[in-house]
């Protein structure tokens, strides 16, 4: 999921708001049997007023419906791939990993009282097959058919072995009620004003400025949720959203807050907390179809010319940790990282090594201090970036400085976001700074595959779903395809390590920093939050459908 991270107009002035002293203390007795009640307010800059459209298949509004209103078959934790049966009570893979059979949970009711059944599941999947615009996770690229068998189970067949696609199919596809959705003439342009789902909450009121979710008393997980009401106000800009959170009017944030320790934590050090687990990489993308980026030595030299620590500190306030060249997120996926190999290459800011690589590749330093090739063409490039993401702009400035020290000239082109994505998807750039636009997944496979697999790319000028740099390497494609065909975890780890070897040697992209799930929470009135010690869900309110799981765990202290 893409995140806005604009630093508002005068965030610094707003930071002065801190001279107000930390406020009140609360009696801190943890209730042993939490009662049902409380109103929790979510704080997440939406950058727009709510449209009051609760269509879980519309990528611009599903953040307000997928999870709390509509649920997936299986909940698959983004942070650790831990799977919990949800609307499915069981599932099995066939031995060739080409057929997946779900047993559908019985006793679940839609919020209008109608029973939920396997027919709804079959209907939902075939709905997004017919209307490919609604297939947000492109599940029908691998699915062949979804049907109900004679015993009432849902059977999915695949065009190819697609074990990792379980995450998108079971974990990221919302199930909608057939008895309502079959009446929609055109589900693509349907505005869903009165959502009916299976989720723990119902939408009780929506205005442009706020959505109120109310507890569903007939939820299938008996006794849950323990929150009576959840309010989700719309924030147009980061500043008011941050102020709302810092003054305690909202208790759960998904915000980028500059100087969070003074602005947020210091207002109530006992209760105001944050945790930023990395969930994706922010890369430098090479357009590998053009010179000199089709030259491995140049790519490696650039990878040795970037001081990731200083990008993280100066560009991202240290909140987004430095990335590493294996492309595997640390600490989120530490068990997948081949540390020995990474150490062998030792990618860090190393101007001598970068210079050596460039000289070996036939570049010489010109009078301006910039390297040039034999024909006198300078190593001078343009990198595209989103002007509204002030942290990225700052990061690119640090990178510019780094490269300049080595002898490579970098010019930044800060674009409006539509123009940026247009260039990024169509490959109309030399270098691009940014992350994949597709959602990350619960193992390193998802992001790496979408970054490197040539099957996700497209010709220059056409919209690519992934691999924006148009990197083509049959060896790496094969590794991903093998990963897709196995359910054996040891084998999967081994395959990812081979991918890491290619990342280190070939440098198809440079992971510079790691994007995080922004997450702030107050323990003053509420408990049960996800923490590093208990990462039961990806913790940002914009992690879908993880936010549902968080709202099922959180309760009001008595």
């Amino acid at each position: 999921m893409r995140r806005h991270r604009r630093v508002g107009l005068l965030a610094t002035l707003a930071a002065l708001a801190l001279f107000g002293s930390a406020c009140g203390t609360s009696s801190n007795n943890n209730g042993n049997q939490p009662a049902i009640g409380g109103t929790l307010t979510i704080d997440n800059e939406s950058g727009a007023l709510w449209q009051c459209d609760f269509n879980p298949y519309n990528g611009s509004v599903n953040g307000q419906s997928f999870g709390v209103l509509y649920e997936p078959l299986v909940y698959d934790n983004l942070l650790n791939d831990k799977k919990t049966n949800w609307l499915a009570s069981d599932y099995t893979w066939s031995s060739d990993s080409k057929t997946l059979t779900f047993t559908i949970r019985s006793g679940v009711k839609w919020t209008d009282g109608q029973p939920f059944s396997a027919d709804d599941v079959v209907f939902s999947f075939n709905l997004i097959k017919q209307h490919s615009e609604l297939d947000l996770q492109s599940v029908w690229q691998v699915l062949d058919s979804v049907t109900k068998d004679s015993s009432g189970k849902v059977v999915m067949t695949f065009k190819q072995s697609a074990v990792p696609n379980f995450y998108q199919i079971a974990g990221q596809t919302a199930i909608v009620p057939q008895h309502i959705w079959s009446a929609f003439k055109d589900p693509v342009s349907q505005v869903v004003k009165d959502p009916v789902g299976t989720g723990p909450f119902t939408m009780s009121q929506c205005t442009g400025q706020n959505i109120t979710f109310t507890r569903n008393p007939n939820y299938w997980q008996t006794g849950l949720p323990r929150l009576q009401t959840v309010t989700y106000p719309a924030f147009l800009d980061n500043d008011p959203a941050n102020a709302f959170l810092a003054t305690g009017q909202a208790q759960w944030g998904g915000q980028f807050i500059p100087n969070i320790d003074t602005y947020y934590v210091a207002r109530d050090p006992q209760n105001n907390k944050y945790w930023f687990p990395p969930i994706n990489n922010i890369n430098i993308w090479f357009n590998t179809t053009i010179a000199p980026f089709n030259n491995k030595a140049v790519r490696q030299a650039i990878a040795y010319s970037i001081d990731r620590d200083s990008v993280s500190k100066k560009g991202e306030y240290g909140y987004e940790p430095p990335g590493n060249q294996t492309g595997v997120l640390s600490p989120t996926f530490d068990s997948w990282i081949d540390k020995a190999q990474a150490d062998k290459y030792g990618y860090k800011f190393d101007p001598t090594k970068a210079a050596a690589l460039l000289q070996q590749a036939g570049y010489t330093k010109g009078s301006s201090g910039i390297y040039q090739d034999a024909s006198g063409k300078k190593l001078s490039f343009t990198i595209i970036d989103i002007a509204g993401y002030t942290d990225w702009v700052a990061s690119v400035q640090v990178i510019q400085d780094n490269l300049k020290q080595v002898g490579i000239e970098l010019k930044a082109q800060n674009l409006e976001s539509n123009a940026y994505f247009d260039k990024l998807f169509t490959g109309n750039f030399q270098l691009a700074y940014g992350s994949l636009d597709t959602s990350p997944g619960p193992t390193p496979y998802y992001e790496l595959r979408n970054t490197l697999h040539s099957g996700t790319t497209a010709a220059i000028g056409q919209t690519a779903a992934g691999d924006y740099g148009r990197y083509k390497n049959p060896a790496v494609d094969t590794l991903f395809d093998q990963f897709g065909a196995t359910t054996d975890s040891a084998k999967q780890h081994d395959l990812i390590k081979q991918v890491e070897a290619i990342m280190l040697e070939d440098v198809p992209v440079i992971p510079v920093t790691e994007g995080v799930a922004w997450y702030q929470y107050s323990t003053k009135d509420f408990a049960g939050w996800p923490t590093p010690a208990d990462p039961y869900a990806a913790p940002a309110p914009w992690n879908l459908p993880d936010w549902e799981v968080t709202l099922l765990h959180v309760y009001k202290k008595s």
Binding site: G8, L9, L10, L13, A14, L16, A17, F19, G20, T39, T41, G47, A48, L49, Q51, D53, N58, G59, S60, S132, E133, D135, L136, S138, V188, S189, Q190, V191, Q205, T207, G208, Q209, N210, T212, T231, P233, A234, F235, L236, D237, D239, P240, A241, A243, F244, T247, Q249, E416, N418, F421, D422, F425, D437, T438, A458, Q462, T463, A464, A465
Partner: protein, 327 residues
């Protein structure tokens, strides 16, 4: 009456011209909503779907430009403004309807208060030229109106909402309540709207004070004011009915214009105070090349300005007999 008839005639022609320009502009601009949708859907849509979308957005259909034009006029008259690209699939009408009442209420009210107060202060300070009021208020407000709006807005927010906590941080009414007709709700709206309205008033009042004061000074030197004094009329009556009534005329058109522009909202106010108005929507529409939404908002602004100017013309005709006699 021919004065009014001429005004009406002019009004109808300008509205038609505005509608037509509004129809032509997006069609000669580069860029294509269908293409934009393609990027939005990350290439997940088939070419047929794009065709269907393009027809839905009213471009690339097989009708002639004249057919399209009359269809557009008909749709506009019926209040059907098409589908928004940014907020797909929401109809533009719904999006505008959602924000417009708040913008009209807040910015409209603040503009009227600023005009009324500014005119009164301008009048009084001209009446007592060099007096205490004249020495303090006009210069003070003119200095304030030179402050950047967001700076003042954030300062007010910081002091009254964050540090003192007297007023809410944002929104048009309490999050827990729904829109209804009750004193309680009206109170919430007033409470939430106070700070944004206050900042608009104190930043815009300076202009009204200055122009009113200056025309008033000229008017006070007119013969009919001397005549009124000679007749022994009460000073209050002279100030309001003789000098004030004439001095306000040049200001009226300016006021009408600014009332018309109320519709475009106050983008910065909405950002700073997180107010659910239509100004921020306009900004988004421009950013994402959402022609249908942009067109509708610009059309509304144009028509609002025209209606307000027309109303000001009528008011001038009533206040100033001389305009009625021309013809």
């Amino acid at each position: 009456m021919s004065y009014i008839a001429r005004r009406l005639e002019f009004f109808v022609i300008t509205v038609w011209a505005a509608l037509t320009i509004n129809f032509i502009l997006p069609r000669i601009m580069p860029g294509n909503p269908g293409q934009a949708m393609l990027v939005r859907f990350h290439g997940r849509v088939s070419p047929q779907t794009i065709k269907a979308l393009e027809v839905a957005f009213g471009i690339n259909n097989n009708e002639s430009i004249f057919q399209q034009y009359f269809e557009y006029l008909g749709n506009t008259l019926r209040g059907d403004f098409g589908t928004s690209l940014t907020f797909f699939p929401a109809p533009v009408g719904d999006i505008v309807k959602q924000g417009l009442p708040w913008t009209l209420g807040l910015v409209g009210m603040a503009t009227i208060i600023a005009f009324a107060l500014g005119t009164l202060i301008g009048m009084l300070s001209a009446w007592r030229r060099g007096g205490f009021l004249d020495a303090i208020l006009p210069p003070a407000f003119i200095v304030i109106s030179a402050f950047p709006y967001f700076w003042l807005g954030l300062l007010v927010l910081l002091v009254f909402a964050i540090t003192l906590g007297w007023f809410p941080l944002g929104f048009a009414y309490d999050l827990s309540s729904s829109i209804n007709l009750s004193w309680d709700f009206a109170g919430q709206v007033a409470w939430h709207g106070f700070l944004p309205a206050l900042t608009i008033v104190i930043t815009s009042i300076g202009g009204w004070i200055l122009t009113m004061r200056n025309t008033m000074i000229t008017t006070l030197a007119e013969d009919y004011v001397k005549m009124a004094r000679a007749k022994g009329l009460s000073p209050v009556r002279i100030m309001f009915m003789y000098a004030g009534r004439n001095a306000i005329l040049p200001n009226l058109t300016g006021f009408a214009m600014s009332l018309g522009f109320v519709i475009s909202g106050a983008i910065l106010v909405e950002i700073v105070f997180n107010y659910p108005g239509v100004g921020f929507t306009l900004l988004q529409a421009v950013h994402s090349e959402d022609f249908a939404l942009m067109q509708t908002l610009f059309l509304l602004i144009t028509i609002a300005v025209l209606v307000a100017v027309l109303a000001a013309d009528f008011l001038t005709a009533w206040l100033d007999p001389r305009t009625r006699e021309q013809a």
